[in-house]
Symmetry: C2
Subunit: 519 residues, 2 copies
Amino acid sequence: MDLRNTVLSMDEWTELIHRAETGEISEPLENVDHDNTSPYDAIFVGGGAGGRFGSAYLQARGGRQLVVDKWPFLGGSCPHQACVPHHLFSEAAREMDYMRWNADTLWFGEFDDKRASIRDLVELFKAGRNNPHAFMNWQSKEQLGMEYILNAEATVIDAHTVEVAGQRYTARNLVLATGARSYPPDIPGIELPGVYDFATLIEELDYEPSRCVIIGGSKIALEYGSFFQAAGCQTTIVSRSPLMRTHSLHHVDEDLRTYVVDGMRKRGMDILEGAHPIEVIGNGKVTGVRMRLADGTEQTIDTDFVFLGTGERPHSQPFVDALGVQVDDKGFIQVDSRMRTSVPGVYAIGDLIGAPMEMFKARKCGMTAARNIMGEPYEFDFSEYPDFLHTTYEVTWVGLTEAEARQRYDDVAVIQMPPKGIRDDELALPCSEGSMLYAFTRPELTGFQKAIYDSKTRRLLGAHHVGFGAKDAFQYLDHLIRKGITVDEMGEMNELFINPDHFIQLSRLRAGQHNLTDL
Amino acid sequence: MDLRNTVLSMDEWTELIHRAETGEISEPLENVDHDNTSPYDAIFVGGGAGGRFGSAYLQARGGRQLVVDKWPFLGGSCPHQACVPHHLFSEAAREMDYMRWNADTLWFGEFDDKRASIRDLVELFKAGRNNPHAFMNWQSKEQLGMEYILNAEATVIDAHTVEVAGQRYTARNLVLATGARSYPPDIPGIELPGVYDFATLIEELDYEPSRCVIIGGSKIALEYGSFFQAAGCQTTIVSRSPLMRTHSLHHVDEDLRTYVVDGMRKRGMDILEGAHPIEVIGNGKVTGVRMRLADGTEQTIDTDFVFLGTGERPHSQPFVDALGVQVDDKGFIQVDSRMRTSVPGVYAIGDLIGAPMEMFKARKCGMTAARNIMGEPYEFDFSEYPDFLHTTYEVTWVGLTEAEARQRYDDVAVIQMPPKGIRDDELALPCSEGSMLYAFTRPELTGFQKAIYDSKTRRLLGAHHVGFGAKDAFQYLDHLIRKGITVDEMGEMNELFINPDHFIQLSRLRAGQHNLTDL
C-alpha cells in the first residue's frame, strides 16, 4: 500500500495498523520516495527506538534513509509490549498501593481486591496501544520526512542489499536494529501454558492469575512483581542473586537497596534470594514451581502463573548467516564505540548489541550510527548512565554509591534524608510530591534520598532517590555530574519547592562550608 | 528553657513544640552558647526559610549567628500554614481528581463525595505538622550548629540590638526576616466568619464548606480552588484579571495557560474573569458574595465559604519605627541586590522585601545576606526564575514563552506535545509518569509540553510543562538554560524513559538538523 502522497489522521492510522495486525491487510505499508534517484545512505533493519531515532538523525544531517519493520508501526517493542505497558502497570501499582495504605481513611473507601485485575490492565493497554503507534508513523512521515516500509520483514542479502516483500533495496550502509527477546531459562516445564514473559503477558494472558511466582531477579522481576502484588496477586520472587545486587545493575547504593527491598516485603511480597528454580510443575497448565532454597532445602509453591524475570537474547542468527558479523557467546553483535560491526558498512545498534537494554542507549546508538555514516566520527560510551526502576515507587540513581565513593575518595560528605541516625518511621521527611499524604499518615513510606560529594573538589559524585517525581530530574543531574557540578553550585540553583528531591536545599545548607561535612 | 546541652529526639521535640503552642510552656526555648564571648555577626529576626538558611550559611562561613522566632520552631509559615499544607492539599486534589475521572472503571469504585472533606485534610495536617517542625529544630541545632531562641518575639531596639524576653542581644548586623501575611481586600463584610485565607483555613476552619467563592486570581486561588473543587465543594473564582495573566506571574505561555484553565473548567469550576467583588454578605456568618461581572451586571452567589486569593503584605512597621528603614508604598522593605536596607548593618530578606514570595528566593536572600555580612560581596538577582503552580496537575515553566521568544528572536523552533495541529483528545501523548492511565482512558487529560529554541544559536529559550513528575527537573533546566544549553546538547543527554518531560528525546529528533524546525 503506497502511502507516499496520503496524509492520514491519527484515527486513520490507528485503523490501518489494526487491520494489518489482524491480517486483513498483509501487504507492506510503504512511504518510499520512488522519484528520488539518489542512493540510500543507510537502510535500518528494524524500526524500533534505535532504527527510528537513527533514521531521524540521518535525515537531520541531510542523508537518505529507509527503515523497514515487520510490524505495521515504527517504535518497536517499547510501545507495543515493553516500556509503555510496564509504565502503565507501574502507575497502576503505585495507585493501587496508595489506595491500599490509605484504605478507609479520609476519602478512600475499602480497597476492593476483587476489582483489581491484572488482565483488565493488559486489556486496557491492548485496546489503546495503536494510538501511540499511529502517532509514531505520522510523526516519522509528516514531521521527520523518513522513508519506511512497514508490515514487512527485511531479509538481509549482503552488506548493501535488503529484500522486502520481493523487492530489493540497496544502500551505502546497513544498520541492524532488530532488538532482543526474552530467553527462557533451561528448566523442565518452562514451556507450559501459564508461563509468561513481558511480551506474552500482553499477547496471550487469558485468565486472572491468583498466585504468582517470578523466576529471576532482574529489573523486570521487581517491576512486574510489584504490579502483580499490588493487584492482589500474591507474588514470590525466586532469585539467585540478592535483588538489585546483580551484574546487570550498577551503582546501586546499599541504603537505597534496603529501602526498596524492605518496602517490597512490607507490601507482602515473598522474596527468596539465593534460590534456584528446579522445575515448573503442571499438567497441561502450570500448577506450581519446585525450587531449591538458599539453605539447600527444596520447596514447591503452588501457583497458576509464572512470570520470567530472567534475561534477554538477540535474534542475530540471520545476520551471522548472511553477513558473517561477529557476535559474542550469547549472540549479541559486537560493535565498536561507533556502532560498527566486524563487517564494513554494517552497523548494529540497540538491544541487539547487548546491555544495557535501555531506551537512551538504543536511541543514541541509532544517532551514533547515523553520525558516522554521514561522515562525522562520533563515539558513544554507554558504560556510565543514570538508571531507574519502578516498584510502587520511582527508584532512581546516578553516579557513585556511597561505598564506591568512599573507596575512590579520601573524604566524602553524604547528605541524606532521613539523616543517618534517624529512623524513617519517626520522621515525616522526605515529604514532597507524591508522598505528602504519607508524611501525615505513614512517615516510613515517604521515601529516601542521598547525595554524595567529594569533600575536596566539592563535586557531586552520586545521587540516589526513592520516591516520586524525581526521575525526570535525574536525566539532567547525570549531565550536571559529568560537567562537574559542585555543592556550592547546587546551592545557588533555584528550587521549585516542595521539590521531590531535596538535593538543592540540602546542598545549600552545606554550601560555603570550608570543610564539607555530612548532613 | 535552656536546651543547650540536651539532645532531644523527634518525639521529644514534637511534644515540646506542642506544649509551647498550647501555652503550657510560655518561656523561650533557648539554644544559646553563653560561654562564647565572641560577638554575633548577625541576629536574624525571624526564623523562617530565609532566617534559617541565612543562619546556616553564616555558620558555614565561620560566622556566629542568633536566630529568633516567635513560634516555638524554625522554618516559619511554610511548614506551619503555607507551602506544606498547600502541597498536601494539592496531592489530595490530584488524587481525588484521578479517582473521580476513573470512578467505577478498573479497580476504582464510585467516588464518594460525602467522604471527601476539606476539614479532614486540614485536621490531618494540623495533627502532623509538628513533626517537620521538630526536625527543623533538631537539624538546626544538632547538624547545623545554629544558636536560636524560639517561642519569643524579638523587639528591635536599634541597628545592633534586639530584645528577647527581657534580655538584650547585640550583633554587628541585623537581618530582618519576618515575612508577610494575607492582606484582605477592602470590601464590606470581608471580616465576617466564613472568610478565610490560607493561614486561617488551617487554624480556624470548624465546619465543612459546601460552596466556595474565591476572591482573587493569584496562584493561591488556583491551587486552593482546585483542591476545594476536587473535594466536592463547588468553587467559583472571582478574578479581576484573566487567570495566570497577572503581573505576579511572568513567562506564562498562552498554550500552557489555555490547557490549565480549560482543565479547571472541565472539572466544573466556575471562573469569572473580569469580575469585581462588591460585598461579602452575611449575618454573623458568610451567606453570599455580591459582585459585578465583566459585562457590567451584578450577581450574587450564595456560599458558606469565602477564600482570599489576593495578595500579601509585610509586617514592617515595627522596623520602620525602630530603625527608619525605607519601605515601598505597600510596606515592603527596600533592599539592594546584597539585601542591604537603607540602614547600614541592617539587612532584610524573604517575603518582607516583596515578590516573588517563593521558597528559593527567601532562602537565597538569607544566603546572600550571610555572604555579604561575612565580607564576601555577593549579589542575588531574582528577576528571572523557574516557576510553578499546582491545580490537579503540576504546572511548571522556565524561560521565555513562545510569544516572548518570537518577539526577541528572528527564528524560533517550537517542539511540543501534542504537536501543533493535533488535538489533545485524538492523541495519547504526552504519556508519562502520572498520566499513563489517562493515556489509555482519557487522552485529553495527559498534559502538555513545549520547548522553545532559538534556531540561530540553537539554545533552549524556554520550557513549559503541564503533567506530573517534571517539577523537580525544572530546577535543573533553569540552571542549564542559564548556561546556554543547546538542542544538540539536549539530544546527547541520557533520558530515563518514560521521562515525564519528553524534552530530551524530542530535542534529539531535531538535534543535528542544519536549519532547526518545529516538531
